[in-house]
């Protein structure tokens, strides 16, 4: 066998191993089918391997061994996905995933596994297929109004899968947190619908893999921001398709990595409708021997004229051993579009640091001020000021801890 054939066989064998825990029972027939289809997808594509192009900068091995892979075992009896404080806001129906999959719930049926499957079109995302095949916790959420209060999902199960439908002209602020090792969020936005997603990932001790799959109809808007602070290994994939015309997707991320953390943000935006606007702004602050990775792709189909795509990934390296790897990609088949990308990596701006110190600002405070300013371009993507302030406070606390 050739090397490639051997590697492929190993990936399939590992996939079979990942699927060795049985699929949950007692679900509706449609759910069982979706589970089986996801298992078949995973079986065919195989587990992620070190030689996969899509895993060029991040070794997936810890993710195929840990709780991200075998979430069902021993973990879920003590922890679960739950709602944060307070009831769900008005105009928001929330059902635990298990209930949704046992019922004949129209929107859940249309979304569960379907958006994930669509998101596999260009690139294999095996850990997402695994999640669809095996996750038992999570929520099915349907939004029919535009409440001001946010919905807070806490993913403390090892594997969590949530489906969200925001109906026509409705809107939701969704906060996600928790220690889940493998999460999958499928988001279906009807015409004029808006989802504002803010996610906090802080200090996970186990490796974490997350996926967001979003489908946007006409005028739909997705704003998603993730703060990732430290942790062992975090891989966040966001896959969004702007199907309708005049849709908008703004994705932001702030990465604070120290110690031996690896934090990887991988984004794939597909423009299908006319006049789509997408924006990616990712800021990475990397210390010690930590690693930050950004892979961002803007894929513009031939019919997606007047697309406006923008991508920015930047890193400040605070130590000599820190690294940042960026892979910006544009693949454009339409001829009337404006797409741009930029990526920079550098040390702390010594000129600015001296200027601040020459005005009496102590070194540590000056560094914190510069880091906050650097990260803020991404944090500013959060429209809810209280949430943005909460994120800023976490950035400040992270810098303060660094000085201890």
């Amino acid at each position: 066998m050739s090397m490639t054939a051997t590697a492929a066989a190993a990936k399939r064998a590992l996939a079979a191993d990942l699927l060795s825990t049985p699929a949950p029972g007692g679900e509706a027939a449609w759910a069982g089918k979706a589970r089986a289809a996801a298992a078949a997808r995973l079986g065919a594509m195989g587990a992620p391997g070190r030689r996969d192009e899509y895993w060029k900068y991040t070794d997936p091995t810890p993710l195929t061994k840990g709780a991200a892979a075998h979430g069902a075992v021993g973990f879920e009896s003590v922890a679960a996905a739950r709602l944060g404080e307070g009831p769900a806001p008005e105009g928001v129906e929330v059902l635990p995933l298990a209930q949704a999959l046992a019922a004949d719930l129209g929107f859940a049926r249309e979304i569960f596994g379907a958006l994930e499957a669509a998101g596999q079109e260009k690139v294999a995302r095996p850990l997402a297929a695994l999640n669809t095949a095996r996750a038992t916790h999570g929520f099915a959420v349907r939004v029919t109004a535009a409440p001001a209060a946010p919905l807070h999902l806490v993913n403390d199960a090892a594997m969590a899968h949530s489906v969200i439908r925001v109906e026509r002209d409705a809107a939701l602020v969704l906060i996600e947190s928790g220690a889940a090792a493998n999460t999958c969020l499928e988001v279906d936005l009807a015409p004029g619908a808006a989802l504002h997603h803010v996610r906090l990932q802080e200090g996970a001790t186990a490796p974490v893999a997350t996926h967001v799959f979003a489908r946007l109809a006409d005028r739909a808007q997705l704003r998603s921001f993730t703060l990732t602070a430290d942790g062992a290994l975090t891989r966040n994939e966001v896959v969004a398709e702007l199907l309708g015309d005049h849709a908008l997707a703004h994705l932001g991320g702030a990465v604070l990595a120290k110690g031996a953390s690896t934090i990887d943000n991988t984004v794939f935006i597909t423009h299908t409708g006319l006049h789509g606007e997408s924006r990616q702004v990712f800021k990475n602050v990397v210390d010690d021997t930590a690693r930050a990775v950004f892979q961002g792709k803007i894929f513009v189909r031939a019919q997606a004229q007047k697309t406006d795509g923008y991508q920015l990934s930047q890193a400040i390296l605070l130590a000599e051993g820190a690294t940042f790897s960026a892979k910006p990609e544009l693949e454009i088949y339409a001829d009337d579009v404006a797409c741009s990308h930029g990526s920079t990596t550098g040390a702390m701006d010594e000129e600015a640091l001296f200027y601040l110190r020459a005005r009496g600002v102590p070194h540590a405070e000056a560094e914190a001020l510069l880091v906050a300013a650097f990260v803020d371009e991404a944090v500013a993507e959060i429209a809810e000021e209280t949430l943005a302030e909460a994120v800023r406070a976490r950035v400040a606390a992270w810098m303060a801890r660094r000085q201890e």
Binding site: L356, R357, V361, P362, A372, A373, E377
Partner: protein, 251 residues
């Protein structure tokens, strides 16, 4: 007030000596000008006094009010009352001018064991001083020096000086990039701060700034040393004879 004795300085990663035994004393209440041709060591002197990294003092001393400046971090020098108006003020994207001013002022007050200034007093102070320098509210809201013209940057330096009320001010080529009107504005800002307790060191290549900020003493710096010291007339001599005549006479 400021006392520099036999100061020798080289770049940290090169052997070339830039300051070669510079001695200078500025008593409180006086304005001293340092003039010199390009490459004489003017900017190195200002940076070494302010505590910028990348320079190595190989001999000599520099003190302010008896404090050994060279033993202090840059921020401690500032808190002790040393202020450098930069020749090239640095742009800091993302940090608003007001936040910057308040952070700096409060850091210095904290260092001196004083309480933080309250928000209302701070606003009043900044508005008053900014108005004198014709700095509008919009400029104060923008990130530090980002998108400022050359003149706006220099006025912003003087604003910082007015807010921080330092005991000793070094102006490094503050006239560079200024038109006559801007220079008058900057000079009147500096003149307003002149007091019997405060000293100034005005570093400049040209005499014209000294028409507006009248010095008590003028020093000529050449090749890392003060080669001549005199009254305001010395600046006029530079203007008429150029540096070469003075350097030739001193050699």
């Amino acid at each position: 007030m400021l006392k520099i004795a036999d100061l020798h300085v080289k770049l940290a990663d090169e052997d070339t000596e830039i300051l070669k035994g510079l001695s200078l004393e500025v008593p409180a209440g006086e304005v001293h000008a340092i003039m010199g041709p390009n490459g004489s060591g003017k900017s190195t002197l200002s940076y070494v006094l302010a505590g910028r990294e990348g320079y190595e003092v190989t001999a000599g001393s520099a003190s302010m009010n008896g404090h050994d400046l060279l033993a202090l971090e840059a921020e401690a020098r500032a808190a002790e009352g040393l202020f450098l108006a930069f020749q090239y003020p640095v742009e800091i994207p993302g940090v608003g001018n007001m936040i910057f001013l308040r952070t700096a002022l409060n850091a210095q007050r904290k260092h001196r064991g004083e309480p933080e200034i309250n928000a209302a007093d701070f606003l009043r102070l900044v508005r008053t001083e900014a108005a004198k320098l014709k700095i509008d509210a919009e400029m104060l809201k923008r990130p530090v020096n980002v998108g400022f013209s050359g003149g706006e940057k220099k006025r912003n330096e003087i604003l910082q000086m007015a807010i921080l009320q330092p005991r000793f001010c070094i102006l490094d080529e503050t006239d560079s990039g200024l038109d006559v009107d801007a220079m008058k504005l900057v000079a009147s800002g500096v003149n307003a701060l002149r007091s019997p307790e405060r000293g100034f060191l005005v570093i400049t290549h040209y005499q014209r700034l000294l028409d507006h900020i009248q010095p008590d003493v003028v020093h000529i710096l050449h090749d890392g040393r003060i080669i001549e010291t005199g009254g305001p007339d010395l600046a006029l001599k530079v203007e008429t004879e150029g540096y070469e005549g003075i350097i030739g006479a001193a050699a």
